[in-house]
């Protein structure tokens, strides 16, 4: 029987393995530490704006991340609650220890997944396709496909001030060897960096001087159950001028500003030293103090990521109100690692250069657990389809954030850490958290990722939505002097969410989706038109074109197209630097080709 090797047991790796196992394929996970699958390397939380959307979509595709998140959760909040539900983003604080424990238990208990602790150092290919991998201890292992999900580990270097040491994250070694495989098959590697903040002891903080942040009760979790249990608190602290002065004074001791770190860091999740330098007029930056676990005596200081030397971080921390007597468990650091520019991948996340090698997660230049898991899911399913000889599984931009994410990666490439935003989706109003199952269930069912019960549940939901809408149409409501139908009420009230049923999860989903359907109706009509237009371009396939034969393309455009090898004209139109005139040239070429074929058939 065909076997797929998954290299790495992080967020991407676990998701890949789980998807493959459901497709009935034997999976071998090879990872550096088999007792900590799905370790959260950085912040103890899952979801948020756009990231919450991803988790809901993974849920709709029967993924593992939402399951474990809800089980390990300690607090929930709905970000953007005051805005429309298309941009609500559910965020859960999670117990870091429980998360990896539950994940390890869950994945280990699956019959057709085997896990070994080892380091993969090479990939064996034959005739342009993968044949196996080489592990340090086990040596050669055969497989029909491999999913590489090594996260921040490839040639990872950790930095803190003048200190530099090898590692994938604190407490873990780096991984080496795979770069030789990549070089051999002509894949370019780049360098990126990211960082993490200090961990402090709860007992040493003066919580009375921080702002307390409660969890929200009565909202739905990622598995559509009401959150009723007790929740842990977070706190808000703030940097101040003194903190900023400490940073500025010691900038020359930062490995970043000294030029040791070459990798590019995330703009949207910068270190505190970056924030202070870039926004020099801001007097204070917000910090979130988040629990690391129910029983954990440490807290995570979200917003204080830094790679300054320990003594500087010490001074900085103690200048913050409420942190005067803080005891530091360990200090923040930065990690710099190799990544593969995903422009070298197909929309299935398979390398263009070698058949059967799939890449997912941070190795593709993304950051974040949710982005990693989403890619893991897609790479896993496609590795499965590759082995089974089935058609690729590619989600479109208009049906999911997963589609947006992967299309961005393979079409535009990555030169700084990539994070998903709702604004990256051109059809945002179509892609709310609660419509995820409606959008993706059928696709997931086709791939064998979910069972028939779920499919029926969604079909039932569709029918109930129609019924609910009819009810609203015939319901009369009085608002002030005016008499109106439920539909009009929802259309005209700027906060229609205040009438959500709060004790019935199903009714709540029903109402939210209906509110969206009504309020976004006009925009959606316009989107439909755009989608149709894009679809026409999508139908024009150009994956087999010899760009040298196409008239009217500039040399640069030709190079760009050769690099990305877009599947169709729609994808081509999103490649940076490709001009409308290039698209027209391709269109004309395609038409002509078609006419030539017709002619030769006729003649």
């Amino acid at each position: 029987m065909d076997k797929v090797v998954v290299v790495g047991g992080g967020h991407a790796g676990c998701e890949s393995a789980y998807a493959l196992s459901k497709m009935g394929i034997d999976v071998l996970i090879i990872t550096l530490d088999k007792t900590s699958l799905g370790r959260v390397s950085c912040n103890p939380s899952m979801g948020g704006i756009a990231k919450g959307h991803l988790i809901y979509e993974i849920e709709a595709c029967g993924g593992v991340q939402p399951l474990i998140t809800d089980r390990a959760s300690m607090q929930y909040r709905m970000l953007n609650r005051k805005k429309g539900s298309a941009v609500w983003g559910l965020r859960a604080q999670i117990d870091r220890g429980l998360y990896e424990r539950y994940m390890t238990e869950f994945i280990s208990s699956i019959g057709n997944i085997e896990i070994i602790q080892d380091e993969v150092v090479d990939v064996i290919t034959e005739g342009g396709r993968v044949r196996g991998v080489v592990a340090s201890d086990e040596g050669e292992l055969n497989c029909s496909a491999v999913v590489i999900t090594t996260g921040t580990f490839l040639n990872g270097l950790l930095y803190r001030g003048e200190e530099v040491w090898e590692g994938g994250r604190i407490g873990d070694g780096a991984s080496k060897g795979l770069e030789r495989f990549f070089e051999r098959v002509g894949i370019e590697l780049g360098r990126l960096k990211t960082g993490t903040p200090s961990r402090l002891y709860w007992r040493s903080l003066d919580l009375d001087r921080l702002i307390r942040q409660d969890g929200e009760r009565g909202i739905l979790n990622f598995n559509y159950e009401f959150v009723r249990d007790e929740q842990l608190l977070c706190y808000i602290a703030k940097t101040n001028r003194q903190v900023h002065e400490v940073i500025i004074k010691n900038l020359d001791r930062s490995p970043l500003y000294q030029g040791h770190i070459k990798g590019i860091g995330p703009r949207y999740c910068p270190s505190i030293e970056d924030k202070v330098v870039r926004f020099s007029d801001k007097e204070s930056h917000i910090l979130f103090v988040e629990p690391e676990g129910w029983e954990n005596e440490l807290c995570y200081i979200n917003g204080l990521s830094s790679s300054l030397p320990a003594d500087v971080q010490d001074e900085m921390i103690h200048s913050i109100e409420g942190f005067e007597d803080a005891e530091v468990a360990w200090y923040g650091y930065a990690v710099e690692y190799d990544y593969v520019n995903p422009i070298q991948l197909k929309p299935t996340l398979e390398l263009m250069a070698v058949d059967g090698v799939f890449l997912a997660g941070q190795i593709n230049g993304t950051s974040g657990y949710e982005e990693a898991a989403a890619q893991g899911l897609v790479a896993g399913v496609n590795a499965g389809n590759y082995v089974l000889g089935r058609k690729p599984f590619v989600l479109a931009r208009n049906e999911s954030y997963i589609g947006v994410l992967i299309d961005d990666l393979v079409t535009r490439g990555v030169d700084e850490p990539y994070r998903l935003f709702t604004s990256r989706a051109e059809y945002r109003l179509d892609l709310s958290q609660y419509s995820a199952r409606l959008r993706l269930t059928e696709r997931a069912f086709e791939q064998g990722l979910i069972n028939r019960n779920r499919l029926e549940w969604v079909e039932q939901l569709g029918r109930n939505l129609e019924k609910y809408r009819r009810e609203l149409e015939s319901r009369r409501m009085r608002v002030g002097e005016e008499d109106m139908t439920g539909i009009e009420y929802i259309r005209r009230n700027s906060n229609p969410y205040n009438m959500l049923p709060i004790d019935d999860a199903y009714r709540q989903i029903l109402s939210i989706i209906t509110v969206e359907d009504i309020r976004y109706e006009n925009y959606r009509k316009r989107m439909r038109r755009e989608i149709d237009e894009a679809r026409r371009l999508m139908m024009i396939r150009i994956d087999d074109i010899d760009y040298d034969e196409v008239d009217g393309l500039s040399t640069e455009s030709r190079q760009r197209l050769k690099r990305v090898r877009p599947a169709n004209l729609d994808q081509a139109s999103r490649i940076p630097g490709i001009r409308p005139s290039d698209i027209i040239s391709l269109m004309i070429y395609r038409r002509k080709k078609r006419d030539d074929v017709k002619e030769s058939r006729a003649g």
Partner: protein, 457 residues
């Protein structure tokens, strides 16, 4: 590409000039061109961009001596292989050359096809292409110089600024969605509002410039209005400088309208229109005349409103004024020689009602005729000072759409609607801007744009 993809046309305006240019473009057009030329240098194909002197031959017969330039793709106007023939400027020679080329497999270029090919091959962008089109169509010097300034990038710069403004607003709105915890919402929305209002005003000015461009480049519609017998047709004839319309002492002589072009100096062109007098309707034909007069008025750019010195300002004048809405109007006290003592009274009356000083004229003594001409010229000249012009209906429509979307953005914010809807509306505005700049077009849209282009260029 196959043979019929070679196109040919005269690139210079039709008519007799010293030199005419005939252009061929497309793969293999060198072969076609060479087969009706003799005396080409030996190097084959001729060096790109080099000027050669040749005889143009029709079989054995030499039809002209001409200079030709061969341009190798992509270094040509269209980006394809291209040949330009500079022949003697006779329509007969030009049409012979074109037919020879046709007989050799080229086909006559459709309207705007050279520019369309230049666009497809990435040699010019859509805004430049539209400027080239408006340059070829312009009837006046001012119109040409506006088109030239657009070709040089004037409009693109202004649109670039608009684009920056829009992207800033979008960034602010998106930041509120993506970073709800770090962004001060109220302050940011205030800023969004200020920026929006500024942008809307700017776009409104830009939109209005298209009307001005049409007037300056294609000629202004100047319509003479006034009650029957006020002297409209006589004035019309005086301004034209010849007797075009029939003048009689019977009221209602002019029933249909007549229109004639008239150059005001080198720079400006107007179309002067004389219509039936407005007033009480006395018979059926009159009724129709008044109907058609209304149509003419609604298309007018400038109105010359005659107030007869003998009748003064009465109910009819009130009615006329009411029908002119917000047009540019030049008031005139007409037939001044008939009642010199009444002039001051009528002058004052007109001034007090309209707030404008009328021009006092007589078509007999010619008093005030030059002043009237000068006043119309001044109106045109003030239009030309706008600075940035839109040069196509497509551009105007898109700017108009941008304004609509931005106004909706303002409205959604006022009503406290979800910011994600505000953001969506903002995206629509930006989409129009992208279309304006020629990003994101499909092939049907391209065909539509080029439908109205001129031959040759």
């Amino acid at each position: 590409m196959s043979e019929n993809n070679i196109i040919v046309a005269e690139a210079t305006p039709r008519g007799v000039g010293a030199i005419s240019i005939v252009r061929l473009s497309g793969d293999n057009c060198f072969t076609v061109a060479k087969s009706f030329m003799s005396g080409l240098p030996e190097d084959n194909p001729p060096e790109s961009g080099k000027v050669c002197l040749v005889n143009l031959v029709d079989g054995e017969k030499v039809i002209d001596k001409a200079t030709v330039v061969f341009y190798k793709s992509p270094y040509s106007y269209t980006g394809e292989d291209m040949v330009e023939i500079f022949c003697h400027g006779s329509p007969a020679i030009v049409s012979t050359i074109v037919s020879i080329a046709e007989s050799l497999g080229a086909r006559r270029a459709r309207a705007g096809e050279f520019t369309k090919r230049a666009f497809i091959n990435g040699k010019v962008d859509i805004i430049t292409a539209e400027a080239i089109n408006s340059l070829t169509r312009s009837m006046t010097k001012v119109g040409s110089s506006i088109a030239m300034s657009v070709m040089k990038g004037n409009l693109k710069t202004v649109i670039g600024d608009i684009s920056k403004g829009m992207l800033l607003i979008q960034a602010l709105i998106e930041a509120i969605i993506e970073y709800e915890e770090d962004i001060p919402v109220e302050g940011t929305m205030k800023r969004v509002n200020t920026e929006l209002n500024e942008l809307i005003k700017q776009l409104q000015r830009i939109e209005a410039s298209y009307g001005a461009f049409k007037v300056l480049s294609g000629g202004a519609n100047v319509v003479i209005v006034g009650r029957k017998n006020a002297g409209k047709t006589t004035l019309f004839n005086r301004l034209l400088g010849y007797e075009r319309g029939i003048v009689s002492e019977h009221p209602g002589t002019t029933r249909d309208y007549i229109r004639e072009p008239l150059h005001l100096g080198d720079d400006y062109l107007i179309y002067l229109t004389d219509i039936a007098g407005l007033g009480e309707v006395s018979d059926d034909i009159d009724m129709m005349a008044t109907e058609s007069a209304r149509g003419v008025i609604s298309n007018a750019d400038i109105l010359v409103f005659l107030v007869d010195v003998q009748y003064g300002w009465g109910g009819i004048e009130d009615k006329i004024l009411g029908s002119l809405s917000d047009k540019e109007i030049v008031y005139v006290v007409s037939r001044a020689d008939l009642c010199e003592e009444g002039v001051v009274k009528v002058f004052k009356k007109v001034e007090s009602i309209t707030g404008c000083k009328p021009i006092v004229i007589s078509s007999i003594t010619m008093q005030g005729i030059d002043e009237l001409r000068e006043r119309v010229r001044a109106i045109m000249s003030s239009l030309s000072k706008i600075g940035t012009f839109l040069v196509s209906e497509r551009q105007r429509e898109l700017v108009w759409e941008m304004i609509i979307h931005l106004k909706r953005v303002v409205n959604l914010i006022e009503r406290g609607e979800g910011i994600e809807m505000v953001a969506e509306e903002m995206r629509c505005a930006i989409r129009c801007l992208e279309l304006f700049e020629g990003r994101g077009y499909t092939d049907e849209m391209i065909d539509k744009i080029f439908e109205e282009f001129c031959v040759g260029k």
